[in-house]
Each structure stands twice: as structure tokens, then as C-alpha cells.
Symmetry: C2
Subunit: 232 residues, 2 copies
């Protein structure tokens, strides 16, 4: 294996450009659902929503969203059952709100990082951006992955799987690279799926990497190296 070099986008650079955080996520979440949420005071609404989202992530990780009762949620947030229902009108709606807002955030950040003209740079930047985003919000990415099946079957038409969004990004870049004769690959769909699988491993098995003292930049370099060997 080649000695890993520093990735095209550093973690610090990413953080200063994108402002990804659970706090800003909850601001957007409240903004997008202004009519549903019955609390007028926006600041208060955001603060409590942050506690709710944090608690959902923590509790779901252990038992799954289905296994998390609203009594659990009430206890963890220190909000009463009655209070909770001012922020959503059903458990299912709570899930949908978080999921849809999450998908939008991911899309936005990915688009912001896919603007280079050179396909190789664009590919590597996108890999970094996705890893860094999931480094900031690991519980949220893990939540989306594990709980996607809870999406309501109704209105499924409008609900595009978040996975497909991510994978589609990478496949598009690979196809651009093929057109421009920069990449020589026969099955871009397989390779984009492989990239996505490697990115998922980062947030799904976080304990494993932290135990081995692998930093997110090291992992980014590893993935980029692995992928680039397939492009030759």
C-alpha cells in the first residue's frame, strides 16, 4: 500500500466552510415545520427540539426507534408527555420530520462539495465531505441507516431513499470521469456502491475505529487510495 498522503480536503477546512452541527440542524428542522410545531417562541422551540433529537438518537441506538417509547423520550428530555406533543402530533410524524430534514441537509452539503471541474478532485472531495459530515453527526447517520425502513409506506413516491441520493452522487461523478476519459471502469454502479459501503462503515462502526485510533482523515486517505486503484 502506498504511504497515505493528506486528503484533498482537510477536516478543519470542511468544518469552517460548512457549519454542520446538531444545533443548526434543529434550527432548520423548526423552520421547516413552523406550522406543525405549536410553540411560538422560536428560540425555545429550537432548544427543546435539540433535546428531543438528541434523545431520539441516543435511545434509538440502543433499542431502535420502534423500541423507544415516548415515556422514555419524556424522561430523557425532561419534558412531559403533554409537552412533547406540542412538537409533533404523532411518533410517526416525529420520525418523518427528522428524516426528511436530514436528507435535505445531506444533499445540500454534498452539492456544495461537488463543484470542481476535475472529476478526480470532485470524487475525492465528495468522499471527504461525506466522511466529515458523518464524523460530526455520527448518531444521525447511523439513525438514518438503521431506521430507514420505518418510513411510512404511504406517500412513498415522494420519499426517495437517502441511500440512493448519496450513491447517485458518486455514480454521477464516475460517469462524468468516464465520459472525459479520465476513469477506465466498466461498472460505475458497482464502484459507487462500494464507496458508499465504505463510508457507511465509518459511522456504523465508529467504536471500532476510535478504538484503533484511526482519525477521519486517515480513513479518508484509505478510502481514496482504495478507490483510486480501481480507476487506473
Amino acid at each position: 500500500m502506498k504511504q497515505s498522503k493528506a486528503p484533498v480536503l482537510s477536516y478543519q477546512e470542511f468544518l469552517s466552510e460548512q457549519h454542520v452541527s446538531l444545533e443548526s440542524f434543529c434550527e432548520e428542522l423548526v423552520g421547516s415545520n413552523r406550522t406543525r410545531i405549536q410553540i411560538k417562541n422560536e428560540k425555545r422551540a429550537t432548544q427543546n427540539m435539540l433535546r428531543i433529537v438528541k434523545a431520539v438518537m441516543t435511545l434509538s441506538q440502543r433499542k431502535g426507534f420502534q423500541g423507544m417509547s415516548l415515556r422514555d423520550l419524556s424522561q430523557k428530555t425532561e419534558l412531559s408527555m403533554g409537552a412533547l406533543y406540542n412538537y409533533f402530533s404523532s411518533k410517526e410524524e416525529l420520525f418523518e420530520m427528522v428524516y426528511l430534514q436530514g436528507r435535505q441537509s445531506v444533499q445540500r452539503v454534498m452539492q456544495n462539495n461537488a463543484r470542481d471541474s476535475d472529476p478526480e478532485t470532485r470524487l475525492n472531495r465528495s468522499i471527504c465531505a461525506h466522511l466529515y459530515m458523518s464524523e460530526v453527526l455520527p448518531q444521525m447517520f447511523s439513525f438514518f441507516f438503521m431506521e430507514a425502513r420505518n418510513l411510512p409506506r404511504r406517500s412513498q413516491k415522494n420519499i426517495i431513499d437517502l441511500e440512493k441520493v448519496t450513491e447517485g452522487f458518486f455514480e454521477q461523478i464516475l460517469q462524468d470521469g468516464i465520459k472525459e476519459k479520465r476513469f477506465r471502469i466498466q461498472q460505475p454502479a458497482l464502484l459507487s456502491g462500494a464507496i458508499k459501503a465504505l463510508l457507511q462503515d465509518w459511522y456504523l462502526k465508529r467504536y471500532k475505529f476510535s478504538g484503533k485510533k484511526i482519525s477521519v482523515e486517515q480513513y479518508a486517505a484509505f478510502v481514496i487510495d482504495l478507490v483510486s486503484r480501481s480507476l487506473e
Copy 2:
């Protein structure tokens, strides 16, 4: 990308050597839990257990094991609630029985396929074996992955994560290859994790591959190619 060649172990070869099936899995499951299961007639016990396991896999896929009620299970298996409780004494025990038996089956098949002297052959055979096994029992592998967090916290000492078992297999082979100076890699742990992530993608996103008409042997060749490029 190189033109993919036929993998070192064909799917047909694997099937004729290993006899992996849901039926034999349930036979073993009944055998391992002879004292718990209150049905004397072994054939009947196995048949009904097969219906139970099938139903658990199907229902869990949609709502998760937690979200599956025993009434759902009763309906799907066409066994009454009372009848079900002759096969397990609690929902949690049902989960544990299936999980532990599954881990044992995976271990056995992996060991049967890791006997070659040459590390490269051993690595490639193991990749094939794991993919083929998950091709036969995709719902079961998916179930283990998604529901592993439901394992009871008590007695966790004895409960080794199935993931670690699989990943450990690959890491051992990589380290053997390094010792014998056949592989030149610096971080076998990262690469074995990557292999595992690629294998997981096969059974977690099965619909995706079948939609694109990718066969399990094609995918095996793809993974082996990707990995071998990292060993050079």
C-alpha cells in the same frame, strides 16, 4: 478495470459442498435447544420452527424485531399464541436462540473454507464463501446485522459480536499473508473492515443488485479484484 475472471470458488461448488439452507438451520436450532422446546416430536418441532424463523425474518425486515408483535407472528405462522410459547419461553429468548445458532453456522462455514495453505487463495475463497452463504440466506444475514443491538446486555461477556467473528477471519488471513511476505499492506485491520463492509452490502442491498442483474459470482469477482489491487 481488468476484465473480471471467474472466482476461485464457484457458487455451484459451494452449494454442493456446504449444504446451507434454512431447513438445515432449523434442524440444528431444534437440536441445540432440545431442552427448551417443549415439543417431543422432532420432525414436527423442526417444521414449525421453520415457519417461525421464516416469519420472524420477514416481519422483522419490515418493522424490526422489536416492532414485530407476537400476534403478528402468530398470524403469519398460523400457530396460536399458546402454541408459539412451546417453542420459546419469551420473545427475547427466541431472538437469542436464532442469533446464537446463526453465529455458529457462519463460523462453521467460514472455517470450512479457510483451509488453503496459500493466503491469497484462502482470502479469495473466504470472500466467496461468505458472499455465497449470504446469497442463500440473505434475510438471515440482514436480520443479524440490523438486530444485533437487541442482544441482552446481561451475559454480554459470552456474546461475541458476529461482526467481529467475520472480520477477525479476514484480518487473520491478511496477517498470515504479511508474515509470509505475500501481501504488502500496512493496515490489515482497515482492509479487513473494508472487505466486511463490501460483503455486507451484498445482503443489505440485495434489491439493488438484482435490479441491475449482477450475479453473486460477478460481485465476488468485483470484490476480489478491488481487494487484490490493495495487496500489490
